[in-house]
Symmetry: C3
């Protein structure tokens, strides 16, 4: 089988300069989701028909796909398939044609359609010229209706605007995904004339022509009507994103992870949960985040491209990006761990602490109101409240190093580049501008002066 | 047309001292939403029947409306309309009567009703005495049923409690919104007797009387049954708020803005999105907030009465109120920008930074753990981590000024009032108590003392 | 009546080492919710059949319950009831049998079933041998069907797998909750033979046997089909948690509290709202939290085991645990109040402030970027921005005391243990290492040095 993905649509109703299929669903272009479904079908030649924004599509998806260009942006779906005729003209098998803006179709459904083709061939001794995916709606208004004879053969598909009153009563609608036997498609698609109303060549016109040629066409009903949802507005984009999101969440829950208020949780498709993970409401997991067994992610935390090892706890309202949190570490609440950081085993990064491009060893404690930037902090260091690693001098960034077991008192300022030896002690409020050797205590502290009665005077008089 | 809004209800089931119609939906009283719908109908004389909490209603909505007082809080809807008899007694046209606690009715529905009145007048040569909005429910239990004859004329409306078994089977229910031809309303409303059971005068009794007088009454079916939802409990208030919220969100999405997890997002009715805005989950936009093209608002951020210009990014979990964020600025994550602040073009206010009543010029960087209060900060200033503008001396607030390109080192304290000249440099940890001239470096730093071996002693012995 | 709760299930599809019934719903084990329903029925002897993870169940629920051990984890429901035979063998009344993993059944439904038993006894002079809870589903696939005769007597319950095509059409399904007349249960349960397919003894087999013995069995239809939802996967756990959560939220709304976006709000079962409380989206209230009249909880805040008194305001994104917030206090946004703290009347704890095991008197202001740990702060104290109470010296924690009306300047460091007298004044940036007497001013401040032109040199050259 080959697959042709129609991705040239203008997406006018998106009101966007970006091509419609490049709008994101859970951090990936809509088209990525459609192509992922195709990947699940196994090895397959896939071609994309592109048009508006072709360069953006090609540069994202690269050389794994063939690209065909539809030159007339208003040519219609038939014209789109013709644009790629070199892809299927000589192919004597089935071509899967689907829309790039229909990201909800499931691979299993396509597999079931293929199996149906085989069964019909085997048991009815009939090679179908086309099999179209359909579904049944309570209210089919606005959709193309699938018109069939009493044996279930498709006679034609009619658009809402061209349907007769009887045809409008039909509740089986066209899902916009087709398997075509290429020789028959080739024969009939050239016979389609452009619509007198819109000038477009509709792919759906081939079904009537196939029937007239004596070929057999059938429809295949999707179990879940949401599968055929197309995305034509940003509201439909949001609805599609919600549906894909809930499928991902249900998958992880059924693999043995606890997800509270799943409708509030966001997990992107490349995230991995290793089991017994507990996700609280409003959590967002992005990119290639991976959570080890038993990890707990508190309410509202956002993790992106981050590895969290077994037994670590992310407290509520923490933001962690492009970092690595090791076993049994505790992060948050209200912690911000930025790119290129590592938080060691059983370490604790607490509230209103920012860590950037820093390495924290095991059992480090930085629990309150600190900024740790461009630093290496060895095991068992205590970083007091209000400590700042001043890594920027107005022109460039500098590194710091803190040895094992050191203690940095609260509100101390570490003016990088600096090296604090192991078991060194920085007294609270000190400004450290040179290296401190192992075991030494460093202090900058002016004399404490007391002005008798002066406090009361300033406050009450 | 004139419109009469019944807003005297006690709202007993709200269990509140505040009048029911003054309870908020998306930051505005429920009644505001009903009156907004009326405004969309075009210029219109609107009167409100008020009762419990009348003063609160009047003082909020002011002199744009006429007010009539219903003296008997248990008089019923008929009594409420009679309370305002001076508003419509001599009016020889249609009076729209609706409830203040039914904020979901759409203006288009009322327009459709008016059009229906005209069509009936034109084509059937009939002036309807009343047209009532109705809808059809699967389960009509609890609602008043619309009883019609075979020609579709309304014979009466019966309350659940007084309905016969056959009448209870009727699924068309009264929506509580009516257009009355005033002369016929005047004639019949005086004939209504108070209910023997409750003592209330029910407005719905007039339909039976109109029929008896030989007048014609029809019903008009709302397309969307949620339109007629009344709000009698705070749970129904939450449901109405959700429905209005989703309408607003769908509107902005269809105008070309991307909204993720819309069911988690809160956008109040006066907010404006200028297109291609991207809203992440759990965002809340309040008051007169206005977002320029391409603005991104990260997860969970709350903006109130704030202008954000084109291309600016609000990172997750930021709170910005009554402020102005200029082009391409970056705010957050975890930033708090308070009343009367301006963040200039390409400036960056980062995590755990509070800005209050301050002006920040272009390309200012205040990225970590700072408090900037009552300050003017010129272009290209760098505010280090842990910097505090001490604007309060125990008695009053003072202003500060920082000139272009100045550098304030981390953990420095700026004791207001102060003026730092352009390209001045405050060394980290310094306490600045007097003005610094242009280009000068200011430093308060006691000698760094090292106590050999004393650190290890404090930590390990 | 006695009640027997079947809680021995392996919960294989949960993929968990923890017994299924111990998985949490809103902070309490699933089984806790089932037992709470039983408590609402009045005084009742309750026994639990336990198996896998029995010790964990017993140690959580303690001695208020009788426990019976099902030794064969694959014995089936009939075997589970037999395991507890000592509990009901000699009981000549009704035994309620239900599943521990069905936390959605309402007490009112069981009361209605008991009333139905009485009515049948009184008016039909019939003692039912069993009454089973059922419901009607559009799609009953997968559930046991209730097969009845034309008089409505239950003939048997058949599992999906053993149902004939006609039986599969039955839409009334078994809800898994039963009232059994013990003498008849005893007689028939011993007659049940293990399934030849699975080896399990199915409790539902007794219905057929009862019918064969000439006993009468009826079914009782639950009004709300969600009541009979069993929890077999963590996805179903999430769905059950959502349903219980919405019931709790609707209850509080109808008692006169305003809850915005209730589907985003989490309120655990032991929380109390005293009325006119306003809850914004994404709020989470845990444990024994209690909110006084008129309290407002801003967007996203998390309160756990915390008392908030009348008129206090919790601003957005605050986390408060095991603490007490007094009248009209203001907390947040972005405040973190930890275990054992008290915030006094009209006090204000503001953004990026952490309070731990501290007492704050009335009208204390700690509005920005501070850490207050292990301190007693008397009335009217002002804690400046960036102030840290350094309570840890590398070895142990120390206490501090701040007298009434004292002023602690910004970025000051209070090195505990310390006592600041009332109306004492700590100058900004000072490091306080000894006690300050009442009314005195304390300052540590090195000389401010100005290096002419040196700033410009560092920044521009």
């Amino acid at each position: 089988m080959r697959a042709l993905v129609l991705s040239a649509g203008l997406g006018t109703r998106f009101r966007s300069e970006k091509p419609k299929v490049m709008h994101n669903i859970l951090g990936k272009p809509m088209l990525w989701h459609t192509l992922k479904t195709l990947k699940e079908l196994g090895p397959l030649d896939v071609a994309l028909v592109v048009g508006y924004g072709a360069e953006e599509v090609k540069s994202y998806f690269g050389e794994a796909y063939l690209y065909f260009h539809q030159s007339n942006p208003k040519g219609g779906t038939g014209d789109a398939v013709l644009s790629a005729i070199d892809f299927w003209r000589d192919y004597e098998d089935y071509l899967l044609v689907l829309n790039g803006d229909a990201p909800l179709v499931k691979a299993q459904t396509v597999k079931n359609m293929l199996r149906y083709l085989s069964l019909v061939e085997e048991y009815e001794n009939t090679k179908l010229s086309a099999l179209l995916l359909s579904t049944q709606l309570q209210d089919p208004t606005g959709y193309g209706r699938v018109i069939k004879d009493q044996e279930g053969n498709v006679l034609k598909v009619v658009e809402e605007k061209e349907a007769s009153p009887e045809e409008k009563l039909v509740r089986e609608i066209n899902g916009g995904l087709y398997l075509f036997y290429c020789p028959h498609l080739l024969e009939t698609l050239f016979m389609v004339t452009p619509s007198s109303r819109t000038g477009e060549v509709y792919l759906t016109e081939v079904f009537k022509l196939m029937h007239q040629q004596g070929y057999k066409v059938r429809s295949f009903m999707a179990e879940d009507p949401t599968e055929i949802l197309g995305v034509n507005t940003r509201w439909e984009l949001a609805m599609a994103e919600n549906l894909i999101r809930l499928r991902i969440l249900q998958g992880w829950a059924e693999k043995g992870n606890t997800i509270h208020q799943p409708e509030s949780v966001w997990i992107e498709p490349d995230v991995v949960l290793e089991g017994d993970v507990e996700i609280y409401p409003q959590v967002m997991l992005r990119g290639s985040t991976k959570l080890g067994r038993g990890v707990v992610v508190g309410k509202g935390s956002l993790l992106e491209n981050t590895i969290v090892e077994e037994g670590a706890v992310i407290e509520p309202y923490s933001v962690v990006r492009n970092s690595h949190i090791k076993k049994e570490a505790v992060v948050g609440p209200f912690a911000h761990i930025r790119e290129g950081s590592l938080v060691g085993k059983r370490s604790h990064v607490g509230n209103f602490v920012e860590v950037k491009k820093s390495f924290l060893g095991e059992e480090v404690r930085a629990k309150h109101l600190s900024y740790i930037g461009d630093a290496v902090i060895e095991d068992e260091v205590n970083v007091g409240a209000g400590v700042v690693f001043a890594n920027f001098d107005g022109k460039r960034k500098h590194q710091s190093y803190v040895g094992k077991g050191a203690f940095i008192g609260s509100n101390a300022l570490i003016v990088a580049p600096i090296k604090l030896g192991s078991y060194s002690f920085v007294a609270g409020g000190s400004v450290i501008t040179k290296d401190i050797s192992e075991g030494d205590l460093a202090i900058t502290r002016p004399k404490l002066r007391i002005l008798k009665g002066k406090g009361r005077e300033k406050l009450l008089d």
